[in-house]
Symmetry: C2
Subunit: 420 residues, 2 copies
């Protein structure tokens, strides 16, 4: 290929390749979460990456619209790339009314947002969503809570706190003290920042937003009371406990708001106690109105979303997931061309017993072959030279220790089955 045609290999800003090591870890994490979900009767769903833009646009608001990857396709249709997994789910529910309810689905898929990469954000990232559509029961809310616990525990995370609030509680409170719509927005916007800026700064926000002193006093009293005296979510917590939710993992927190307009009931965030810098790794809530955007029949819904990459990074930092470079157990060297036949047969025998084996494609230069195996992080190298052949044996080298041992060829698969 001439120099003229050379194209600089590069990625778009905010996009990344997932190389094998991280892929293996991510796939294992996802498989673990899927197994938990299946225990609760959730099923997988997948929707297209491209949708009509109007399908995705409705709920986003101006801020969201700016983040949408949107263009005209070859048929001059306004199309856009998936921004989240919730709106496509609402579309699916409306489009296939025959799907039995409650519909419990999960979806693990990338989404795209043309966000500012300077804040360390990516423009393509995986979400893992789980939702229950078609039930407005306390039990369905409770199940989501216990699922969050079970998923984190299944990943080895034991230090976390699920903070839960109820939009109905906030709405009722606003009504009781007679906030108008604008004042309610000020109330929510301040509350949403409580965690970051603290009570005093929130009160400042409320004052600047024209909430009266009596409003603010009433809010503070009601929030304190909900925290300490009467948990508005007591029934939900009680049912979640029957399903296995442990006390130490959940707390009612009246300052949780969640930005999105469409939440209508329970809302929650989940923080890792020993890795708070990752923020909420697992957020969501109840959104009873969303399907109604696409259907004359409305369906209540509740769900939660895992930031896959964020949670994976947290797991790595907390050393709860081993670094894995490969799924291959054995590298079979090829001592010389003449020994191709027995080496390939040996590889076949091992594979027939579900042992993962890479065979050297090149004969000779044994040192180079061993280096290749080491670079790939494959734990064992098998050597079949003329000496070993004559003795009906093989040499096994464990690369981490450099230890070598000779084994009868008949014992080879047993050796690795014990170690896989």
């Amino acid at each position: 290929m001439s120099e003229d045609n050379f194209i600089e290999p590069r990625l778009l800003k905010g996009f990344r390749d997932t190389l094998p090591s991280r892929m293996i870890t991510r796939m294992r994490m996802i498989a673990t979460v899927e197994a938990v979900l299946q225990k609760y009767g959730f099923l997988p769903l997948e929707t297209p990456v491209l949708e009509y833009a109007d399908i995705l646009l409705g709920k986003l608001g101006d801020e969201g619209e700016k983040l949408l990857y949107r263009f005209k396709d070859h048929g001059d249709r306004e199309v856009a790339m998936r921004y989240d997994l919730t709106v496509p789910l609402a579309r699916v529910i409306a489009q296939y009314p025959e799907l039995p309810k409650p519909f419990k689905r999960y979806q693990v898929s990338p989404v795209w947002r043309a966000d500012n990469t300077q804040r360390g954000r990516y423009r393509e990232f995986y979400q893992f969503d789980l939702d229950i559509v078609g039930s407005d029961t306390i039990l369905s809310d409770a199940e989501i809570l216990v699922l969050k616990q079970d998923i984190l525990l299944s990943l080895g995370i034991t230090d976390f706190i699920i903070r839960v609030n109820d939009r109905s509680f906030l709405n009722d409170l606003s009504r009781q003290i007679q906030l108008d719509d604008a004042q309610q927005k000020v109330f929510y916007a301040g509350l949403d920042k409580w965690d970051k800026i603290g009570q005093d700064a929130v009160v400042d926000c409320w004052q600047n937003g024209d909430l009266s002193k009596s409003h603010i006093d009433a809010l503070l009293v009601a929030l304190e009371r909900a925290k300490t005296v009467t948990n508005p979510l007591a029934d939900t917590f009680a049912q979640a406990k029957l399903l296995g939710l442990q006390d130490q993992y959940v707390v009612f927190d009246p300052t949780i708001v969640r930005g999105l307009d469409y939440y209508s009931g329970i809302v929650f965030e989940t923080n890792l106690t020993h890795a708070p810098e990752f923020g909420s790794v697992f957020s969501g809530g109840r959104y009873d109105g969303l399907v109604g955007r696409f259907s004359k029949q409305s369906y209540p819904a509740v769900g939660t979303s895992i930031g896959v990459d964020r949670l994976l990074s947290a797991l790595e930092q907390l050393q709860l997931i081993p670094e894995v470079q490969t799924t291959t157990t054995v590298f079979m060297t090829l001592f010389s061309e003449e020994l191709t036949l027995p080496v390939l047969q040996m590889a076949k025998n091992l594979r027939d017993q579900s042992i993962n084996v890479e065979v050297s494609y090149d004969a000779g230069q044994l040192g180079k072959q061993v280096k290749t195996a080491a670079a790939k992080g494959i734990p064992y190298v098998v050597i079949l030279g003329p000496d070993e052949m004559a003795a009906g044996q093989v040499t096994i080298r464990e690369l981490a220790t450099g230890q070598e041992q000779r084994l009868d060829q008949s014992g080879l698969s047993g050796f690795f089955l014990d170690r896989q």
Copy 2:
């Protein structure tokens, strides 16, 4: 939500939702294929959906370019959606020279082509690619062949034929009979249609394309000779056989060309004997020049691609994959509010033993609950009414037969563990 805001739920032409039933089947098929690949030392990789357009454009030619979903992003960059998985792999190889070679990776991902949907084609579809980069050995070619066999056998397909040719053989032949570049193109274009239109029509194409009678005679003799006397791929087949390739699954076929410019050695297609209408479910070849487009260092490469949806449809038609509606084994009914506690505890106990359980969110109306379970295709319903409670028992109904039995509560998990 007011009528004004109602958005018609709909999909773009050529795009589809994958509902749970098909998702479960597809995920199982993919997991089966992945297990085979891991046995041969292949590792997973994932690349972004969006790339700089110039990265993807190079190899496509005019026809391909028309099919590319391409637009300007928010930073006015020319970007495009992934068209296949081979070009991104070549980019990755050039971009991360530290990746140990041979680099053996697989990727299962959707790709996008703005194709004509009237031909029954989809614009978003899954590909499952496996490639070996960094080896030009016969052994690496042979491994790809045996992998194709092992993958199909692992899926229960036993009637298939892998048809293999070598571009070097065709190139050498063209040189021997002194075809110029234009004539060689005519030769390949005709050959490519052999399967569909037959020898006579191919000869017509060659004549119309200005190949002389002596050219054509020489080609026919050489092709016939390669088929019956001297297989140019004899060494490759021999090594593949050592790795386990069975004679009946592979044939040298000098009419296989594969359209793409970048193939440089072995090329292959795979047809299902009892479902020929699906065409080649599994195609590919050697492309030693492609990485050189992005790197001063060139790497030989060989690989193959499975049309995931096509193969899945074939498996369904051949009844080699069971229709699955759910992964849930048990639907726990909720007889009445008062019995919530024992029902949820029972569900928790079953889940603790990895039995997949959906619990009714609503109490009462038992008939409706059973109908829900049936609509979801869940095989067993568990009923815990006051009678059962009093006796320390449960009723299990198998929905396929309508058969009911009572069991001691202590025996419940054992019953399902035997049946999961």
